[in-house]
Symmetry: C2
Subunit: 368 residues, 2 copies
């Protein structure tokens, strides 16, 4: 039996192999007599799960040794507070506002530091990116925040900004929730990266934070201990009980990613090739149609989240019903944008995008 194709923006589809393995090990992990949910986080069994997950993510994403990898709780929205609580030092932070997520981030950071919007593309309805050369960065900013892929608006940085090249010494913070592990990261340009797992890595409830050691140890007094990066790092993400099962499933996903091959590329490199092919297939189908439209500039279209509209929006309900009848699920756009959205994360196979493209064509022909 083929599973339906699930285009949810997150929580999102997971690799079938990962789910099969998790189901198979539910009552007894590796002969331990315990399911993973039932293990003390201090047990040898769980510590090995954690250590493998950390090492696998480091290898997959080529995270340099001077970065700590933390498994936390609260998702991206909590990190919007946790980042300035940890690294703003109560001073100033510059934000590049390129969609809903970076806008939420800057609003939350205002609780903790002086926030400036150094650049925004709001005047284009978030369908383009402000060129880095136009950013008004402050010399004394404690960090610069970018959402490297905007899940709702479907806008992605194809290259991370080079802050040093722009004359800034501030660390770059990236919210990479919705495209982590879909492409390599140029860590030489990054000070801190965070992301909820529920789009590309696993279940909701575990948040990855990759943070340079130089940014640890400067938390504001108001920072809860459980969210103080230094305390979390010093305790190997076990200061409080980690979300053990979510971490385990994320670890299975890391192993699945490591096994992927595409030509000579493996791991995240293989995923990038596949994601490029999937995105091109879908954007081409939309662009070549008179029936559907995507309004994002071609130079910053997300490979992960493809918002699109029917030019005749009175047909939206019929479109969604027909999609569901073909086992193409969760295509409704975010309420703040409307229309449709296809999220085509790592775990979405090319076959899913092909099925969607076939449906786009068939639905258009039937309506014509």
């Amino acid at each position: 039996m083929t599973r339906p194709f699930n285009f949810s923006a997150g929580p999102a589809t997971l690799p079938e192999e990962v789910l099969q393995q998790a189901a198979g090990e539910m009552l007894d992990w590796h002969g331990s007599g315990m399911g993973v949910m039932e293990m003390s986080h201090r047990s040898n069994e769980f510590v090995s799960i954690y250590e493998n997950a950390e090492a696998d993510f480091r290898e997959l994403m080529a995270v340099p040794p001077h970065f700590k990898i933390l498994f936390m709780q609260g998702g991206g929205l909590a990190e919007n507070a946790i980042v300035p609580l940890n690294i703003s030092r109560g001073a100033s932070a510059d934000f590049i506002v390129t969609g809903s997520w970076s806008d939420k981030s800057q609003k939350e950071a205002r609780k903790y530091c002086d926030v400036q919007i150094a650049a925004t593309n709001a005047n284009s309805d978030y369908t383009s990116l402000p060129p880095p050369a136009s950013w008004k960065l402050r010399r004394d900013a404690s960090y610069v925040h970018v959402c490297s892929n905007e899940t709702i608006h479907g806008v992605e940085f194809q290259e991370l900004p080079d802050l040093k090249g722009l004359g800034s010494d501030a660390p770059l913070v990236i919210d990479f929730s919705s495209h982590v592990a879909s492409r390599p990261v140029d860590w030489s340009r990054v000070g801190l990266a965070f992301g909820g797992a529920q789009k590309n890595l696993g279940p909701a409830g575990v948040t990855l934070v990759v943070v340079g050691e130089d940014l640890l140890g400067h938390a504001l007094p108001a920072c809860p201990s459980a969210f103080d990066y230094k305390i979390v790092a010093d305790n190997h993400s076990m200061y409080n009980t980690p979300p053990t099962y979510s971490l385990y499933v994320a670890g299975l996903t890391f192993q699945w990613l490591k096994r992927q091959k595409e030509g000579t590329a493996t791991g995240v490199g293989a995923m990038e090739k596949r994601n490029l092919a999937k995105a091109q297939l879908l954007y081409d189908a939309i662009d070549h149609s008179q029936f559907y439209v995507n309004r994002v500039s071609k130079d910053c279209r997300s490979r992960m989240n493809v918002p699109f509209f029917l030019r005749d929006e009175s047909r939206n309900e019929a479109f969604l019903a027909g999609a569901k009848a073909r086992d193409l699920l969760q295509l409704k756009g975010h309420k703040s944008v409307g229309g449709m959205r296809a999220s085509i994360y790592n775990a979405m196979p090319l076959a899913g995008v092909k099925a969607l493209v076939d449906y786009l064509r068939d639905f258009e022909q039937k309506q014509a």
Copy 2:
């Protein structure tokens, strides 16, 4: 095949039926074509899971309508900050320190308000409870904090304190992480209750907060939005993406609890009967032996967490190895206390306690 008995203090053993159901639904929940991990938290499917979990917990625990039930992230340790961030108003809070957990709570709260230890049993090594009549409560305290079951020290309030009867109008905050749903709660005495799920309710990563509506809306400016009880309540625990899968498994556990019967008692009433029987069996075995000892006063011994010591601690390793050989797992005591600890939460069947008691006797006889 019988599963081993797992005495972990948390994350802890879960009902086999719950794990079987979760495994069976992993790839396809109720014919939706999606696993629960893969569902948007805004989908009709997941919203129904959330609503059922909320309603089932309310029914199980007889939570009155003027309390909100929140599903949050961060566990009890994060709540140690989140509670004062939300309800201290930056003023004062009184703590009853009865073991490691309440001690951690008061230390963390000092970041946010003026903390007083109104009573403690530290001088008894946390083997007794200070009688409520001796508590030095302040008239202007914004709340009074009690850990109603101390997981590490094995001390439990058999009755919640009646603050009004003690002349205080402050709301009582209880950390009920390690005995929630093992016995009824007298909500007339409670202002706020919180607990990580990973002991009695489900997987780590979801935290239950039951909070009176009158305590909402007073968060300090430094409170992260994702942890502001009013925002969480107004958004039905979906301001940020909830830990969907953990919430689902907790919901399955609530349904399992509702199905339990013991004589004419059902649900939490049935669990209380069983827990009393299990605790009595184990404490009796320890008390009647010259080989093992539990030092907690009989009037406040925990029904959930039974720390005990071999009088000859040189035999600890042999004891643990023998237990493991009999499929009795995770009996090692907490590092801060040493010795042994048997956690006998709701999901531990009487048969597990019987097997442990048999082993206690056999090990003693073999050593004698």
